[in-house]
């Protein structure tokens, strides 16, 4: 620095720039600790504090792909998917696979079924047709409607407007029955089934009071099913008055309540309501106008209650981890504490920040290291979170995975495609015609048969939380039923058809395992299969069918692991 104190402007600027750069680098280094982690990393951090991390406990590629395919699309992966994925050397292939699956039409169909199960629990279609409801769910999922928006739509709609009628099914197909509604609203949206608090404070759970039951009831007990004779349909109507009162069957103490959700705020009727009612002179029938609707406040009250996000987070967690952080998912109260309270609190906050975006939240869950853990681990930790349980495929996953595995789906699709080609050739396509893909048509055609299988494996009543317990009858079905055999039987384009055309026995065995169990066979298994095939060298169809049946009814297939 021979120039002494006369530093050139350029040098000054350069120094300033360098200082600024260094300063910002230091700042970001400091701030690096404060930069928000993606949620999946936050989860892993929190969980790791309790259970410890072990590299060797990561699921292998085949296990991971099968699991994440089932959880995001309700289906085992295709044989091609399995091979592509396992041979892919890329280090971020799991994240890419997750994106591909989330964007797939199978994911859409699966999400539709899941949401349908949550909202309607297999209740029969009474006032909204199956088609109308399915279309509504499809639109919902395609638009990635967030859970708060969907909740608001279904609780707000009264069924009078054709554009939103399907959304009213929640009320309409419960016939606006107050008790059904209170129990289901509590269980589905708020994680609290308080049916036992209807007649008195809950006998076992101190958190559930009769006042809580009737606080929710107060939102809906003025609503009723109205048979609109003019329009020939049933709609949700609402009286403008009525007091929600209750008496304890145990203590005889009487109470009255304004609408409220548990410990949330009251939503009392406006003071001027009686005057408003007098003013709104009511004509008969569907022209009746209600100056004030309690039911309109229900979605607002629910979505703003902390239990809303918490329940959704817990429910989605249960979907991919096999067990909620609170378990059962509709018993969230003081006597049933969450396995990891801090984790659930974090998830509740984050899901609200994500505006209850189902896909985005699911993405974070399946990106965690926790999700990627193998189910084959020996963990000494007492934390139940540390061990991923194997879990049965849901009835829908089982039925549709069988259809994919046997190639029955492919065979049907092939048929549909050729039919559609012929149909298209015979008439010009119309602009703005709603696009029905061959896959959609195939899905429709196979639904009736799939539903029969679903019914056998569903052990809960319509309206009750869905259960799938193992029964002797299911075992008899797996041993002697004809449905699976029909799907296995050779048909142009299905698996057995392709296997029969294959020359190499090794290729046949490989294809069997990759298609059915989503992995490669080991040498022992190779030997077993060859042994079976050798029993009938001239006609492989029978032994091949038997091998397929054994794989498809095995414990490995039956479970998600």
């Amino acid at each position: 620095m021979t120039s002494g104190h006369s530093i050139s402007t350029f040098s000054r600027i350069r120094v300033v720039l360098v200082c600024a750069f260094v300063a910002s680098f230091n700042l970001s280094f400091v701030k690096g600790a404060d930069l928000p982690l993606p949620l999946h990393q936050e989860i892993d951090r929190l969980v790791a504090k309790h259970i410890g991390r072990s590299e060797s406990n990561i699921a292998d590629d085949a296990q991971f792909l099968r699991r994440v395919s089932l959880d995001l699309t309700g289906l085992i992966p295709t044989a091609a998917d399995v091979r592509d994925f396992c041979h892919n050397p890329s280090t971020n292939k799991r994240a890419l696979a997750i994106e591909r699956l989330l964007a797939s039409p199978e994911c859409t169909r699966h999400t539709q079924r899941v949401i349908d199960g949550w909202l309607m629990r297999r209740r029969p279609n009474r006032n909204v047709t199956s088609d109308e409801w399915k279309t509504y769910l499809r639109q919902t999922v395609l638009a990635n409607k967030h859970w708060d928006q969907l909740t608001t739509e279904i609780l707000k709609s009264d069924g009078t407007d054709p554009a939103t009628r399907a959304a009213a099914r929640f009320f309409l197909d419960r016939e606006c029955n107050t008790d059904d509604l209170v129990r289901d609203i509590g269980a589905i949206f708020l994680g609290r089934d308080i049916r036992c608090a209807q007649c008195h404070d809950h006998p076992i759970v101190p958190d559930f009071k009769q006042a809580d039951y009737f606080g929710i009831a107060a939102f809906v007990d003025r609503s009723f099913l109205l048979d609109d004779k003019q329009k020939q349909l049933k709609v949700v109507a609402e009286k403008a008055d009525g007091v929600t009162a209750f008496t304890s069957a145990l203590t005889q103490v009487r109470g009255v309540t304004a609408p409220k959700i548990f410990d949330g705020p009251f939503f009392p009727d406006p003071v001027s309501l009686t005057e408003q009612i007098a003013d709104a002179l009511r004509p008969e029938g569907s022209q009746r106008t209600n100056p004030y609707s309690r039911r309109a406040l229900l979605p607002i009250a629910i979505v703003s209650h902390p239990a809303f996000g918490r329940t959704l987070a817990n429910r989605l967690w249960a979907m991919v981890f096999g067990r909620g952080i609170v378990d059962p998912i509709d018993q969230d109260h003081g006597d049933n504490p969450p396995l990891h309270p801090e984790l659930l609190d974090l998830l509740s906050v984050r899901i609200a920040e994500m505006h209850y975006d189902l896909k985005a939240f699911l993405r974070e869950l399946v990106l965690t290291d926790l999700y990627a853990r193998s189910t084959i681990e020996r963990v000494e930790s007492k934390q139940a979170l540390a061990v991923l349980p194997v879990r049965k495929l849901t009835p829908e996953q089982l039925a549709w995975s069988w259809l994919r595995a046997t190639g029955q789906w492919d065979a049907e699709l092939r048929l549909v495609q050729s039919e559609m080609q012929i149909a298209d050739a015979q008439r010009p396509s119309v602009v703005n015609e709603p696009e029905t893909t061959p896959e959609d048509v195939t899905c429709d055609r196979l639904t009736a048969e799939a539903e029969k299988v679903v019914l056998i494996f569903t052990t809960s009543l319509a309206g009750e939380p869905t259960r799938s317990d193992t029964t002797t009858e299911q075992a008899l079905f797996l041993l002697n039923g004809e449905t699976l055999r029909k799907w296995i039987a050779s048909r142009p384009g299905n698996l057995l058809d392709r296997l029969m055309k294959s020359e190499s026995e090794d290729q046949v065995v490989d294809e069997l395992f990759v298609s059915l169990l989503s992995r490669q066979p080991d040498s022992q298994e190779m030997a077993w299969i060859r042994e079976v095939l050798a029993q009938s060298p001239s006609n492989r169809e029978v032994p091949l069918s038997d091998v397929m049946e054994a794989l498809l009814t095995s414990t490995e297939f039956r479970f998600n692991h």
Binding site: T471, E473, V542, F559
Partner: protein, 429 residues
Amino acid sequence: MSDSIPIAEHTLSRRAMLRTTALASAGLLALPRLMSQSLLADQVKSSGKRVLLIFQHGGLSQFESWDPKPNTEFGGPFAAISSSLPGLAVSELLPQTSKQVHHLSILRGLSTEDALHDSARVRMITGWSQGFFGGKYPSFGAVCGKLLGAGRTQPAYVKLTDRAHWHLSSLVDASYLGPEFAPVVSFDESPPDYLSSSPDHDDSRAARIEALKNRLNQRFRQGHPSTDADAFERSFETARQAMQQRSMFDLSRESETDKARYGSHAFGQRCLLARRLLEHDCTFVKLNHVNYDSHFENFDNHLRLLGEFDRPFATLLEDLSQRGLLETTLVIIMGEFGRTPKVNSSIGRDHWAKSWSMAVGGCGIKPGLMYGKTNDNGTEVVDGQVTAFDLFHTFYRALGIDPTSHLFNGDQPLTLTETSGKPIKEILT
């Protein structure tokens, strides 16, 4: 679950302790699972007892059956007739039954609090008014299958019902006892679904599939301990046992005479099938008759339903008695509640749990008694009031089982029925 039996002296002292400890009946005592289950096993080992539960779905009207009140305000149009039980008049809708009713005891003082189908059915089938925290109690059939069914004909628990009402009858199940105690269901007097394979799928194929599947399962299970997977694999054993017993469901092996005696209609054939199953030592047969829920046209409906019921039921009672099965078979006839005295505007009777009737007989029950009475117009019980839990205490005692003993859901000890109940000593032998 271990099947080992502890040393006799420990068993004795433990049993003595349980008898004197108040806590035991509260179900709060954390009993070692092994001890308590062995006590039950000792009590009912090789008892060779079985149960026939005839369930009148929807709620049989006591006015049109066991407790008629002709020429009273609520009595309805039917008369009462005398029966083989002196002092007991039954509805004229039960002429054949009236001749066999001396085998049974009639309870007319039932008062069970719950007049909603689903929950009342849970009460009358499980012996509990609600679930326990986290689940539902298992049905009477599943419990009997567990306590009485070991080493005997499998399936131990069979339901005979209408396919159209299938999900009505699957309301309760084996719960925490496990899927091997769930019933096998026969619909519409056909053998249970999927009991045998199609002809082109012979035993050698089945054996081959089984062998390969077992190898694969063994490999998979090495890395995956899981009670769910255990239950799944066990269900095939139970299924195989049911398959081996399929001739038990084959009505063509019964004589034409018998088929005619029972009547060719569905319920008639179902009663004959029940007799066959009991003769084959099936532990628990639940025989459903649907649908008594006559909110509309109560009298027409009961005329029709009891017309279906009367002859085959009477025949069944007679046959069980003549074949010496009644002594070891507890026979229960009931619905989930009764029906209202008041007839509604649709000429129907609605649900009524306040004062209704049922019939019970056979194993452990004194025949030919009337217990409990309603007032003149049938609106309340005036003597011998009985709750659902009293009934269950009575049923279990009749079978030689202590209803205050425990079964275990994991570590959670649960009594067999609500402990508030008391057995009806007057009708127990």
